[in-house]
Amino acid sequence: MIDTNGNNPLMPYLGRLVEVKDMAPEIKLFRVELLNGGREAFASYRPGQFAFVSAFGIGEAPFGLASTPQRGGTLEFAVQRLGSVTTGLHELGEGDIVGVRGPMGNWFPMEAFRHKDLLVLGGGIGGAPLRPVIQTVLDNRPDYGHLTILWAARHPSLLIFRDEYAVWRATPDTELHLTVDQPDPDWDQHVGLITDLLEELAPSPKNTIAITCGPPIMIYYVDQVLRKLGFAPEQSYVTLEARMHCGIGKCGRCNLGDKLICVDGPVFSMAEAGDLLESFL
């Protein structure tokens, strides 16, 4: 599954930043045009896969691929400035070169989700790897059932992909529910945690797949609510993240019990990950 650059899987492809957009305070969306052979490797990556992005001179870190190849030949990454690599990336601008290794990991089985209702739950920057799922549904609307998006952030300013909400909402059979726990005076939508919103909406588990990404604690409690609502572990998918340094199953850092998030994941059904989540929290 891993496309390597030459024969050395630790050698990055080079990519040029063709767009750097502020999405929220400390969150930027990077659009990368691949340069040296990487285009072929990234020709058909799937929703849920990730890649390592290098801020040369500092290091590299894994980021969820935030768009689909069907949306164009460039890669998109939503990057929140938190550590050294993300700080390094935030200092770059259009025209600068980054390194990219991947695509890595498994993906959401979108084919198996066809004709099912989808419940997508994204918290904070965790919404980024779920955007390809949303895009896939939007671009192949008749193939999927009802799409319910629950999108959460601490504060309205931290909601990501805000300029796309109107399109999501205007798409047939698609609803978007936003929630924040610290509203500002202009906020007229739901206030509270994503779990509160989920309990209020109480979606039916019938023929539905839930897909969750967010901070570990959110994933844990969303899982609790989904179980209460009657979702079987097989109907609930998560995409997990851990500190990792290779992305190809060697460096040992991202284990979740005897699974490795980088190669056995990052996408897990709760039937696979449920018992292991403890070591993720």
């Binding site: 891993i2 390597t4 030459g6 024969n7 050395n8 899987p9 630790l10 050698m11 990055p12 080079l14 290098s54 040369f56 001179g57 500092i58 290091g59 590299e60 870190a61 938190l82 550590g83 050294s84 993300t86 025209g95 600068d96 070169i97 390194g99 901070p215 570990p216 993240e241 851990a242 500190r243 340094h245 290779c246 190809i248 199953g249 060697k250 460096c251 040992g252 850092r253 284990n255 019990g257 005897d258 490795l260 070591s279 993720f280 929290l281």
Partner: protein
């Protein structure tokens, strides 16, 4: 059996040192280490095992993966692959086993690690059977023996006036070409084997995940990570860029050893740490060795070399942990 006399061995090793990089046990300021030698006279002869295993010659404690040069908005990357042939003399069976354990991950699990695979390809292992097991050795408890030749290219066993020679692989045979061997009647001497201790079954491990034992055992752990440093199979690593020269836009991407016992190992940017407690980290170390690694790659990630037993400053003894678990199991 084929025997090489001590004199012939010395000249052969001198030749190997001249033709390639010869690495052998050598006393460095009183510490026995595998280090490059230029003369057979520098090689230590009477030893149990060096303080560090041979893993650093395949997977160095710090290695350069590539260099990075920035010129304006242009980036030039140059991969730095290992070069040259090396021969390691005086390899103990536990360390050769350690390389087999790492092969399962770095070579046999796709994609292969270019750096490690290249060094493995270009290295020949000349083993030296242990005359007896050391005080902290326990290779026999996990399927090894002090004279195990399986993971070597060539195996030597000390006999009267020299060493019995077994060419194990074709690489070993090739290295022995032209080396004067005497044919002698008799069999290889038997090594002194100490009793093995009971060992918990793989299937039993998941049941022990929530044992209070891990937390108790970890109370004295200092998270110093020396256990991983001396371990012939610990292979966790970190990758980062470091400046090559002050004031220049040149960097190297390095890979360096890391250990799951360290507090920062799983901590992510922002501060969240799913393994903040020492007990969780110690548990992961033992689970990795005896449950996760075998599940993921096949072999146990322990060779019974006993180095962690010797090195631990607070006497956390892997054999004691195993014995405790095996007792609870029974």
């Amino acid at each position: 059996m084929d025997v090489i006399t001590s004199g012939a061995l010395a000249s052969w090793l001198d030749r190997l040192a001249a033709e390639s990089t010869l690495i052998a046990p050598r006393s460095v300021e009183g510490v026995l280490l595998y280090r490059p030698v230029t003369s057979s006279a520098d090689i230590a002869r009477d030893f149990t095992r060096p303080v560090l295993s041979i893993k650093e010659f395949f997977f160095p404690a710090t290695e350069r993966l590539l260099t990075i040069e920035k010129t304006g908005q242009t980036i030039t990357l140059q991969q730095t692959l290992p070069e040259g042939k090396q021969v390691i003399f005086g390899v103990r069976p536990c360390d050769a086993r350690g390389m087999k354990v790492m092969d399962a991950l770095f070579i046999e699990t796709s994609p292969a690690d270019t750096y490690y695979a290249s060094r493995r390809e270009n290295t020949t292992l000349i083993g030296l059977a242990c005359k007896e097991m050391g005080e902290s050795c326990f290779c026999t408890s996990i399927g090894g023996t002090p004279d195990d030749h399986r993971d070597m290219d060539i195996m030597l066993t000390e006999v009267e006036g020299g060493y019995a020679v077994q060419a194990v692989t074709s690489k070993g045979k090739a290295l022995l070409e032209g080396v004067p061997l005497q044919e002698r009647p008799g069999h290889l001497p038997k090594q002194v084997i100490t009793a093995s201790f009971p060992f918990p079954e793989t299937a039993y491990w998941p049941l022990r995940f929530n044992d209070a034992y891990w937390e108790q055992m970890s109370e004295r752990c200092l998270s110093c990570r020396i256990c991983a440093y001396v371990c012939p199979t610990c292979r966790c690593f970190d990758i980062r860029d470091e400046p090559l020269a002050v004031g220049k836009d040149q960097y190297e991407r390095i890979r360096c050893w890391d250990s799951c016992a360290g507090e920062a190992y799983r901590r992510i940017a922002g501060g969240h740490n799913p393994r903040a407690a020492k007990g969780q980290r110690l548990r992961n170390r033992f689970f990795c060795k005896f449950y996760y690694y075998p599940q993921q790659y096949g072999p146990l990630a322990c060779t019974g070399c006993g180095r962690c037993v010797d090195a631990c400053p607070v006497n956390i003894d892997i054999t004691e942990v195993m014995s405790h678990l095996a007792e609870v199991e029974a």
